[in-house]
C-alpha cells in the first residue's frame, strides 16, 4: 500500500515474556540442581573416569569420587603418571616409582562447576516458547545429549590440562601449554559460548522439524 512500510516479522516472544519464562526456568532448574547435584555428579563419575585417560594416556587416575572440600562437595580427581616419561631431556618418573616419594596430582571440581553448563543449556532450551508439546519433545531430544556430553567434554579436558600443567611446573616451568589455554578458555566463558550456540541450534532445528511435520 502506498506510504506504508514493510513490517519485519516478529523475532519471537516479547522481551518481558521471555524474561519471565527465563526467570522461572532458572529458578526451577537451580532448585532441581540444588537437590539433585550429588546423584547427577555421581552418575557422571564413570564417564569422567573413562574420558581422562583417553585424552592423555600418559596419566592414570587413581581416584575419581565425590569428596568434601571445606564446606563444599566436590569431584576429586587424583592421578599420577602411568609410566616414566622423557620430558625436555629429563626422565620423569611417576610418584612412588622405584623409591621416589609417594604423591600425585589432585584436581577438585565443585559440583556446581561440573553441572553449570548443562543447567544453563537446559534453562535456555526450556525458556524459549514452543508451539506445542511435540516441538518441546523434539527440542529436548536434541538438547539432552548435549546436556549429558558437556560435562564429559569440559571437565576431563580441564583435569588433563591441570595434570599436565602440574607436571611441567615441577619439571620445566614455563608459559601455559595449549591444552591449559583451551581449558581456561572453556572455563572463562567458552563453555557458555558453546551452551548458547547449542541452545540456539536445538531450538531452531526443533522448530524447523516441527514446521516440516505440520505445515500450516
Amino acid at each position: 500500500m502506498r506510504g506504508s512500510l514493510p513490517q519485519a516479522a516478529a523475532p519471537g516472544p516479547k522481551p518481558l515474556e521471555l524474561a519471565g519464562r527465563a526467570l522461572l526456568c532458572t529458578v526451577l532448574v537451580l532448585a532441581v540442581l540444588q537437590v539433585c547435584s550429588r546423584p547427577l555428579a555421581q552418575a557422571l563419575l564413570p564417564g569422567l573416569r573413562a574420558v581422562v585417560p583417553l585424552l592423555d594416556p600418559r596419566f592414570q587416575l587413581s581416584e575419581v569420587r565425590l569428596a568434601r572440600h571445606g564446606a563444599d562437595e566436590v569431584v576429586r580427581f587424583r592421578g599420577n603418571l602411568s609410566r616414566p616419561l622423557l620430558v625436555q631431556g629429563r626422565i620423569v618418573s611417576p610418584f612412588g616409582w622405584n623409591g621416589t616419594p609417594p604423591g600425585g596430582f589432585q584436581i577438585t571440581y565443585t559440583l556446581g562447576g561440573v553441572l553449570q553448563y548443562s543447567a544453563g543449556l537446559l534453562i535456555f532450551t526450556l525458556a524459549w516458547p514452543v508451539s506445542g508439546r511435540r516441538e518441546l519433545a523434539r527440542r529436548l531430544a536434541l538438547a539432552l545429549p548435549c546436556i549429558a556430553l558437556l560435562p564429559l567434554a569440559i571437565v576431563p579436558l580441564t583435569v588433563v590440562a591441570e595434570f599436565r600443567h602440574g607436571l611441567m611446573s615441577l619439571v620445566a616451568p614455563g608459559p601455559p601449554g595449549g591444552l591449559l589455554i583451551a581449558s581456561r578458555y572453556l572455563m572463562g566463558g567458552g563453555g557458555w559460548a558453546i551452551v548458547l550456540v547449542a541452545a540456539a541450534l536445538c531450538i531452531d532445528r526443533a522448530r524447523l522439524i516441527d514446521r516440516q511435520s505440520n505445515p500450516r
Binding site: 512500510l5 523475532p11 516479547k14 522481551p15 532458572t26 535456555f124 559460548a193
Partner: protein, 180 residues
C-alpha cells in the same frame, strides 16, 4: 511506495549456523586476547580500578562498619577476602554480549548502540554479583560456594540474553516514528 527510511538492517537471510560460528569466532578472539593480557597493566586497571575499587566503595557505602577495602585483585574485609579473577571480573560475560552483537541481524548503528549500552549493564550486573558474593561469604560461606559456582554465573548469562533479545525485538526509534 515510500522509500524505507529506517536504520533497520535489510533482511539478510544468513543462516543460523553461520551466525553461530561467527559468534564463537568473535568471542574466541576477545577471550583469547584477554587471556594474553594476564598480568598486564591493562588487566590490572580493568580488574582493580574498574571492578574491585567500585565494589569496595559500594560495600563500604552499604555497610560502613564492615571495613572493606580493595587490595589489588582482592576485595578484603577483616577476616575474609574475595579474589576477583577468573570470571568474577565480568569480562567473559561482556565478551559473550559483544560477540552476540557482532553477528546480530541489526543495522550498524543499532548494533553499536546495543553493544555500547551493554557495557555499563554488564559492569553494573557484575558489581551486583560481587556484592552478593561478598555478603554471602561474610554471612554464610556454604551459600557463597553455591552462589559462586552455579547461581550467579547462570543468572548473569540469562539476564544478558534477555537484554540481547529485548534489543533485537524492540524496533528502533526511527522505525517506530515511520510506522506511527
Amino acid at each position: 511506495m515510500s522509500e524505507l527510511a529506517t536504520n533497520e538492517a535489510p533482511h539478510r537471510p544468513l543462516a543460523l549456523p553461520w551466525r553461530a560460528a561467527g559468534f564463537v569466532a568473535a568471542f574466541s578472539v576477545l577471550q583469547l586476547a584477554w587471556q594474553r593480557l594476564d598480568g598486564s597493566r591493562l588487566e590490572y586497571w580493568i580488574i582493580h580500578t574498574c571492578t574491585v575499587v567500585p565494589a569496595a566503595l559500594l560495600a563500604d557505602f552499604l555497610t560502613p562498619g564492615a571495613g572493606v577495602w580493595a587490595a589489588g585483585y582482592l576485595l578484603q574485609a577483616p577476616g575474609l577476602r574475595l579474589d576477583i579473577l577468573n570470571g568474577c571480573d565480568g569480562m567473559e560475560a561482556l565478551f559473550l554480549l559483544l560477540a552476540a552483537f557482532a553477528v546480530a541481524p541489526l543495522a550498524w548503528r543499532r548494533r553499536w548502540a546495543g553493544a555500547a549500552l551493554g557495557i555499563p549493564l554488564v559492569l553494573a550486573l557484575n558489581q551486583v554479583r560481587i556484592l552478593v558474593l561478598f555478603y554471602a561469604l561474610r554471612a554464610n560461606p556454604p551459600l557463597f560456594d553455591t552462589l559462586h559456582a552455579t547461581v550467579t554465573p547462570i543468572v548473569l548469562v540469562v539476564l544478558l540474553c534477555c537484554y540481547f533479545h529485548a534489543w533485537l525485538a524492540t524496533p528502533s526509534r526511527s522505525a517506530r516514528t515511520e510506522a506511527a
